[in-house]
Subunit: 461 residues, 2 copies
């Protein structure tokens, strides 16, 4: 749809854009980039290649190291300069055996995924009666005497939303339940998966950040939605329900991870950085096609298109950062912010693609009042892609948090997350789930946005 | 929708039905049963109870024995007479460890399910280069020299169809590949799952029947569709692809299974049997809600409704048979046909519900030419449920084959199978996948059909 639509409408919209910094020539060039992106770009090739030739790539693993090698080769192939790896250390948590079964009253197995960072159970497992709570808040309010020695089950569903706002609510139990349960003397934790699908996939994901007061937590796993339903039904029969849980993850305390960085150096202001990020690591269950090979494909594809059309930006440097170890606690984001601390004041803007592969529907910013006009003008250029105006409370992607705290302006090219949490952190996050047309629309938006900021004197601080 | 529709239209249709055997009173009573079924019936309660309180129930397992206990109690509760178990012996094949990984060139794990009846690999697994074929036919035509020692991968997709006709084509590789590969000297077999979903579930299912000439086959497993895609992509890179496969099933040679039988005895012709079947066993991965707790719920619910409304049929006996060990080779069907051989000439008709939980859309028969008119008259009574005329080549359900061969007339109340093979034989076959309205429509059709044949002198032989 976009392919036919764009050629006719971009120039019309371009003529309406308001702010002086965006010259008609700049807007026409952005429209050309969008049209080109919708015709052909390198994003899908990158996603296919990364997910096929590397596959799952958990932080600190040999596979993540292969992903860095892949990225270095791919970025060089796409014409980037200054391609490099900046390494840092992480703990390498590895999933092990994971088995859950209802022992009584109705023996049957349950589909689970150990939560990232969880402690292991003894080899023989933990076997205990289950006590159910409707939410993390309900667990936090429970008397320890009712919980002690039991397996805590938190059966809180997630609300499906376009903007992903259900995640913060439903995610709380994943982040905190193991620590809260430990304080109450529980033996283990099961949560309903933080996800929106009713297929029988358990959603993994990192626990924490750890509350300093509460130790290392108890062993913790997520049940698939049908299994949470099943456990709830079994509990509903009114008999004591006993579950056995075997979780055998291991941790290598010090392993290597790294960020892969590549640039299109600007001609006039090479030290002014327009940063486009995504994360290279993935969870171990799927091939991370949607989370976040898609983002890798989008930001590298957008910048590569600019390189192809313009050779290099007239003014500022476009820097692509493929972060390592995002999923297990943002170690790559922290490492980047620390290592580049002195450069951050010259980061003009940062944007990250890490919300799947759906169409972008909204342009959010986080700029001072006097920059709203230029932000709106940029947004207007993106309008023909079906992208509407958003709010001025953008938080950027997860890897931009440290930069944002250091004063780097961020924007959000918000993807439609309606289906994102059907796949998020499951074995089902595989290449076939991508819709190529949506990927193209993302590349178009990123290419136009990066170009407009890199080839102009736009200031968003 | 059906609930409002039926009351107004059944009587009109009833007035149009043709054959003399179906009196207006009989047709009015059938319409009443359908209307009642659409308002309330016991099917969903049975499906919920069986899948929750028993869960997966593989042939010969302790869980299948619990399912028989469940069925005896449930059938008595629903008002059936002569509730009994007829046991027989089966081999109890049990899934064990199952691990597949691409070792080279791109190391990563693959999602698989061991095929039912497969031999085990050695504990350390089988590791070999993969050779791919587009179909079973292509494997059968291959020179042994190209296959010897390799892992055969048959990458044949399944066509999605409403009537399930894609299954026989796509299923051939599951039934025969392990034996064909053994004859060519292969070390193991991987097939693309016999299924239509692109979710990351591997579809299990029984191998065979075994060709007497070809031994026990090689160890064999199914890949989920995304994993078959992935393996095909990796092979497409043109490098040798090495896979390691560990399959550790075990077999208990002699275990107990059984059919559960219950009746509504007829008043005038108690020895004339109208048989409604479904199967009680399921594969081990899911809770078998769709395959075939749904069928259990439908046929028991339909007969129970007749018992509730009529107390017992005026003429013939309605016999519900919940077959054991259907999935692993129809042992229950064979046992029933043998044990009841002398009764089979007095089986007026047999019908089975074993194609999921979709709406019935077609009424198929297998009757002599001179019975087509009465068959059409029965079909006309079902028409308000959205059921159209079918063909006269009905094969009945899988458990009716031996009876059909012995001359028992069968009909097919064909369910819409469009989505059935998305779930079939996967871990994702769970209660939440049922659409209660469709279950009600099935109960309505079975109740009307069983009643029309049991309360009349209709002959279909």
């Amino acid at each position: 749809m976009y392919r036919r639509f764009i050629a006719a409408t971009c120039l019309i919209w371009a003529g309406h854009a308001g702010a002086a910094e965006l010259s008609p020539q700049l807007q026409a060039r952005a429209a050309e980039l969008m049209a080109r992106a919708l015709q052909a770009n390198e994003a899908y090739t990158s996603v296919e290649s990364l997910t096929t030739e590397v596959g799952p790539r958990l932080a600190g693993s040999p596979a993540e190291a292969r992903a860095r090698q892949w990225a270095v080769a791919r970025l060089a192939e796409l014409g980037f300069s200054n391609v490099r790896v900046e390494t840092f250390q992480v703990a390498h948590w590895r999933r092990g055996e994971e088995v859950a079964e209802i022992v009584a009253p109705f023996p049957q197995s349950l589909t689970i995924a150990t939560l990232g960072g969880s402690l292991a159970t003894p080899a023989e497992g933990v076997q205990a009666e289950v006590i159910a709570f409707a939410s993390l808040a309900e667990l936090l309010a429970a008397p320890a005497a009712t919980v002690r020695g039991k397996i805590v089950f938190i059966d809180e569903p997630m609300t499906r939303t376009q903007d992903g706002s259900g995640y913060a609510v439903a995610g709380a139990k994943r982040w905190q339940a193991a620590y809260a349960a430990e304080q109450l003397g529980a033996s283990a934790v099961l949560i309903r998966s933080v996800g929106t699908s009713h297929d029988r996939f358990a959603h993994t994901g990192q626990m924490g950040p750890r509350d300093q007061a509460s130790g290392d937590g108890v062993p913790a796993a997520a049940l698939s939605a049908p299994d949470a339903d099943q456990l709830a039904r079994v509990l509903g029969r009114g008999l004591p329900v006993v579950v056995k849980l075997v979780l055998r993850p291991t941790v290598e305390a010090v392993a290597e991870s790294g960020n892969v960085i590549a640039e299109l150096p600007g001609l006039e202001a090479v030290d002014e950085i327009v940063l486009a990020g995504a994360h290279l690591d993935s969870w171990d269950l799927g091939t991370g096609a949607v989370d976040d090979a898609a983002g890798v494909g989008i930001v590298t594809g957008a910048a590569a298109l600019i390189a192809e059309v313009l050779s290099r930006p007239t003014r500022r440097t476009i820097r692509v950062v493929l972060f390592g170890a995002e999923e297990t606690g943002l170690a790559g984001a922290r490492a980047y912010a620390e290592r580049h601390a002195r450069e951050l004041p010259r980061h003009v803007v940062a944007v990250e693609s890490d919300f799947g592969a759906g169409n972008i529907w909204r342009f959010d910013t986080a700029v001072p009042e006097d920059k709203l006009e230029i932000a709106a003008a940029i947004g207007a250029v993106l309008r023909p892609l079906g992208i509407g105006p958003g709010n001025n409370s953008a938080r950027g992607g997860p890897d931009l948090g440290f930069m944002r705290a250091a004063g780097v302006p961020v924007v959000g090219l918000k993807q439609n997350g309606w289906d994102y949490f059907d796949l998020h952190h499951t074995a089902n996050d595989t290449l076939d789930k991508l819709v190529p047309g949506a990927l193209d629309q993302n590349v178009a938006a990123y290419a136009a946005f990066l170009y407009l900021v890199a080839d102009s004197e736009v200031e968003l601080r």
